[in-house]
């Protein structure tokens, strides 16, 4: 280590003591601990500690999101140029190197996707810092993941001011009023998404918002389509669906910024399971849940219960496993449902919690043609139910203990025989 860095470290150390017990201490510490992991030593309990801390944990999730972000930047441009070609009746062959991973596509990503990331982090962290300073606690790491998730789950043309308003709402109402990271009931990123959806519905659904400039060009001779696969299915525009399964799997389809590539999301999910950061139980059970619901709908169609004219025919007849390839289902399952704070906290509870997320997502998707995406609603709903699920799982353990207690051999004390009384009291 060079002398210069040593002095830098020393200087920060001196500054830390200078800021101690001052108002700005949390802000300084947030930056300091970002640069250097702290020199704190153990005071009570175990004298040695494991290597992981919350920063490292959160960092793993961000790492799992980076490929998705990069892909989404290319896809932003690709969808834009593809839509123009469709509008002009130009047919083109897909080629990964020639018309997907191009500078032109990436440039659209830089001017459209990066600002979303910057606004999300800038506004969100500002709110976090302000709260930390006012309440005098450390700046906690939860927002590092939330800030990355938010730009990936909104339509590309979302105005930046709208995003900023939603982030402020989501962080304050969704998290800080409960006491900050670890205390919130609802997933903050989804709270932000829900706020956007209900406050500005025209910007969050329909067949225009999913492709860059589709809204602006509406009504002009240059109009382009921005319809998602689910949107087309919900409108029963089955003929217009010209995406192959591989397009859907690898993500060359329109949709929210980062949700399209099931392939990269799958890799991210495997990485999170492998590093033991996210719960595999939730992911597996959510996949099972969505397959079950999708399969039930397929059966309904096969049995001829509904006709092709029905509003629900398009989505109900969509093959059950394809639900995982379109929309935000895969993204929600891997990155949002697995949030440990708002999800179920017991291992058995996680199975139930995950299953219903998958199950409800597909159900809402099919029965809500106006807005054919139910993942965020399903996860928020299950966030609310997670404590109830845990309650019953824990209750089972308590009951087991009570049952054992009824067979207990409580021996009288040498001096008195209060034990029998005690037993009677408790039963």
């Amino acid at each position: 280590m060079s002398d210069k860095r040593l002095t830098f470290k020393k200087r920060l150390h001196i500054l830390k003591h200078h800021y101690r017990d001052k108002k700005m201490a949390p802000a300084f510490n947030a930056i300091h601990t970002f640069l250097f992991s702290p020199d704190d030593t153990t005071h009570s309990g175990a004298h040695v500690r494991g290597a992981d801390d919350l920063k490292r944990t959160m960092n793993m999730v961000i790492m799992a999101l980076i490929p998705v972000l990069l892909f989404s930047m290319f896809n932003a441009g690709y969808q834009y140029y593809a839509a123009i070609d469709v509008a002009n009746n130009v047919s083109r062959e897909f080629s990964l190197w020639e018309n997907f991973l191009t500078w032109d596509n990436f440039w659209i990503g830089i001017i459209k996707v990066l600002p979303l990331v910057v606004v999300s982090y800038g506004v969100g962290l500002l709110v976090e810092f302000i709260f930390a300073i006012i309440k005098g606690h450390e700046v906690e790491e939860g927002y590092l993941v939330t800030g990355m998730l938010v730009p990936l789950i909104v339509p590309i043309d979302t105005p930046l001011w709208m995003l900023a308003v939603a982030v402020v709402f989501g962080v304050v109402i969704g998290k800080e009023v409960f006491g900050g990271t670890g205390m919130n009931i609802l997933n903050p990123a989804l709270t932000i998404r829900a706020f956007l959806f209900f406050a500005y519905p025209t910007w969050m659904s329909g067949d225009k918002v999913w492709v860059y400039q589709a809204v602006e060009r509406t009504g002009t001779p240059d109009a382009i389509s921005g319809e998602t696969v689910l949107g087309a299915l919900a409108q029963n525009h089955l003929a217009e669906l010209n995406y192959s399964v591989s397009d859907m799997f690898f993500g060359f389809i329109p949709g929210s910024v980062g949700e399209t590539s099931t392939f990269l999301i799958l890799l991210g999910g495997l990485f999170l399971i492998y590093t033991k950061i996210a719960s595999w139980r939730i992911m597996v059970s959510a996949v099972i849940g969505s397959l079950v619901m999708g399969y039930i709908f397929n059966l309904v169609v096969d049995l001829g219960v509904i006709s092709e004219a029905s509003n629900f025919y398009g989505l109900m007849s969509f093959e059950y496993w394809k639900h995982l390839l379109v929309g935000g289902l895969a993204f929600g399952i891997v990155y949002m449902a697995t949030d440990p704070v708002t999800g179920s906290q017991t291992n058995n509870g996680k199975w139930i919690y995950g299953f219903f997320i998958g199950f409800m997502s597909v159900m809402i998707r099919v029965f809500n043609p106006a807005y054919p995406e139910g993942v965020f609603l399903a996860i928020l709903l299950m966030n609310v139910f997670a404590p109830t699920i845990d309650h019953y799982v824990v209750k089972a353990n308590i009951n087991k203990r009570l049952k054992r207690f009824k067979n207990a051999t409580i021996l009288p004390k040498d001096s008195d025989s209060r034990a029998e009384e005690l037993k009677a009291e408790t039963i």
């Binding site: 470290k9 920060l12 150390h13 640069l35 250097f36 992991s37 702290p38 020199d39 704190d40 030593t41 005071h43 009570s44 309990g45 175990a46 004298h47 040695v48 500690r49 494991g50 290597a51 992981d52 801390d53 919350l54 920063k55 490292r56 944990t57 960092n59 793993m60 450390e138 906690e140 939860g142 006491g179 900050g180 990271t181 670890g182 205390m183 590093t275 033991k276 950061i277 139980r281 440990p340 999800g343 906290q345 017991t346 291992n347 996680k350 824990v394 353990n397 308590i398 087991k400 203990r401 009570l402 207690f405 207990a408 051999t409 409580i410 021996l411 004390k413 040498d414 034990a419 408790t426």
Partner: protein, 450 residues
């Protein structure tokens, strides 16, 4: 009847500096000290004044709430200091040892022919009672209670802790005498555990129920074994004794003398030649620490093992219940981007760019750094991986934090001691003080219900 216990959940913390299995004689300590912190929840009443000469085994103080319970001096000498803290609370009692030791003679005592109350009275009078602890509450056993069983763990899994098989060698007679006596104090069984492949002297004894235990830490903790063999229900009491204290109790029955000799493992990466020392309870740690030499200046001396011991200093004194002293480097330094870079030299249960899973046998040189800041509970499902009891660890911790007595009781606080939560504390991503939370929970429950 022997029941084998296999523990799967857990984590072995392999550290550099395990004590080599040779025993040296420690230099005689000038001053011996009894640290009152070792006796949780005991309010002492002094029996002797400062400046008085005491014999080894002579009472120093008694338990205010049970005057029969006497605590004795490990050596003979002059009581030179009663160290007091805030509100005149006694912190420690120091004795300047005589050159020639005088011991109180109680006379041999045949437990096989005595009744339970005679044995109790003898243990209380001779100062051996404090070695018997009880659950619930993890305190010195209340002599008025009638334990449903007594547990002794002869299996060592804690990092760098003294190996029971080694320190008990050749003590069969003493162990047998103590177990015979303990067997009379309970209508239930005396459960003794040994490692599956061990040659422990405990396995050849009679009057006990032997269990062969295998698996990673915390398989060797008596709490884990109680949970698997005969879990504690509300209202029930279980007593526990550590095997080395059995030797002391047994010797008292056989010879009539309180012999405070202890074989102590001196371990840790800051010790040059870690090995076993024979010394006495209350001896100054420096008397054997510097015999082995230390590697650097900036180290921490721990009275006990790295997970459950208490912070001490070279001029501190060997704890009443300890047979391990550990010295490891202090970790009071910053690490550039410590949260982001891959980690090869620390232990982790995750694979979040931490690589201890690659080689589970590797020995690590851990220091006292917390490796991160204190946070609210965030990650879930992590504690369960290393917590073998049928208890929800995080839910129990939270119940203790919010002081919800009903929940604490229902979730099984009666079954645990702080040491059972040392491993979850070790791996905790949020760096929560688990042992402290459990201790406070137990104290509250004891105050309100016990």
């Amino acid at each position: 009847m022997s029941k084998d216990i296999r523990i799967r959940k857990g984590l072995n913390i392999n550290l550099v500096g395990a004590a080599e299995q040779t025993t040296a004689k420690a230099v005689l300590s000038n001053v011996y000290a009894i640290n009152l912190e070792d006796f949780h929840g005991i309010t002492p009443k002094m029996l002797v004044k400062q400046g008085v000469e005491v014999k080894a085994g002579e009472g120093l103080f008694f338990n205010k709430s049970n005057p029969e319970m006497v605590f004795v001096s490990p050596v003979s000498g002059e009581l030179v200091e009663i160290e007091r803290g805030a509100r005149r609370k006694i912190l420690s009692i120091k004795i300047l040892a005589d050159k020639t030791q005088a011991v109180v003679e109680h006379g041999a005592f045949d437990a096989a022919k005595a009744t339970s109350s005679q044995i109790k009275a003898h243990l209380l009078k001779t100062g051996c009672w404090p070695f018997i602890k009880q659950r619930p509450y993890d305190i010195i056993a209340n002599p008025d209670t009638n334990p449903k069983s007594i547990f002794i763990s002869g299996y060592t899994t804690a990092p760098l802790a003294a190996n029971s098989d080694y320190v008990l060698q050749g003590k069969e007679k003493e162990l047998q005498a103590a177990i015979t006596a303990l067997g009379k104090l309970t209508p239930g069984a005396v459960h003794v555990s040994v490692g599956v492949n061990s040659n422990s002297p405990l396995s050849g004894l009679s009057g006990l129920e032997l269990h062969k235990v295998s698996g990673p830490h915390p398989a060797g903790l008596v709490g884990t074994q109680i949970n698997k063999i005969d879990p504690i229900n509300k209202g029930e009491v279980v007593w526990t004794v550590s095997p080395q204290d059995l030797v002391l109790i047994g010797e008292l029955f056989l010879t009539g003398k309180f012999n405070a000799d202890r074989i102590v493992a001196l371990a840790g990466s800051s010790v040059k030649t870690p090995k076993y020392y024979i010394t006495k309870i209350g001896a100054e740690i420096a008397t054997f620490l510097y015999g082995s030499g230390v590697n650097n200046d900036n180290f921490r001396v721990i009275n006990g093992d790295v997970l459950t011991g208490s912070k001490s200093r070279p001029d501190g004194h060997l704890g009443y219940y300890n047979n391990t002293v550990t010295a490891i480097p202090e970790g009071d330094d910053y690490e550039l981007f410590g949260w982001a870079l891959p980690v090869f030299n620390k232990i982790s249960t995750t694979r979040a760019l931490t690589f201890s899973w690659l080689n589970p046998k590797k020995k690590y040189d851990l220091n006292t750094n917390t490796n991160g800041e204190h946070r609210a509970f965030v990650v879930t499902g992590q504690y369960e991986e290393v917590f073998p009891m049928d208890i929800f660890p995080m839910q129990l911790l939270k119940a203790c934090m919010i002081k919800d007595l009903d929940e604490m009781e229902q979730l099984g606080l009666y079954e645990v001691a702080p040491e059972d939560f040392a491993l979850t504390e070790f791996i905790c991503i949020s760096k929560q003080p688990h042992q402290k939370i459990i201790r406070e929970g137990l104290d509250l429950l004891y105050k309100e219900i016990g």
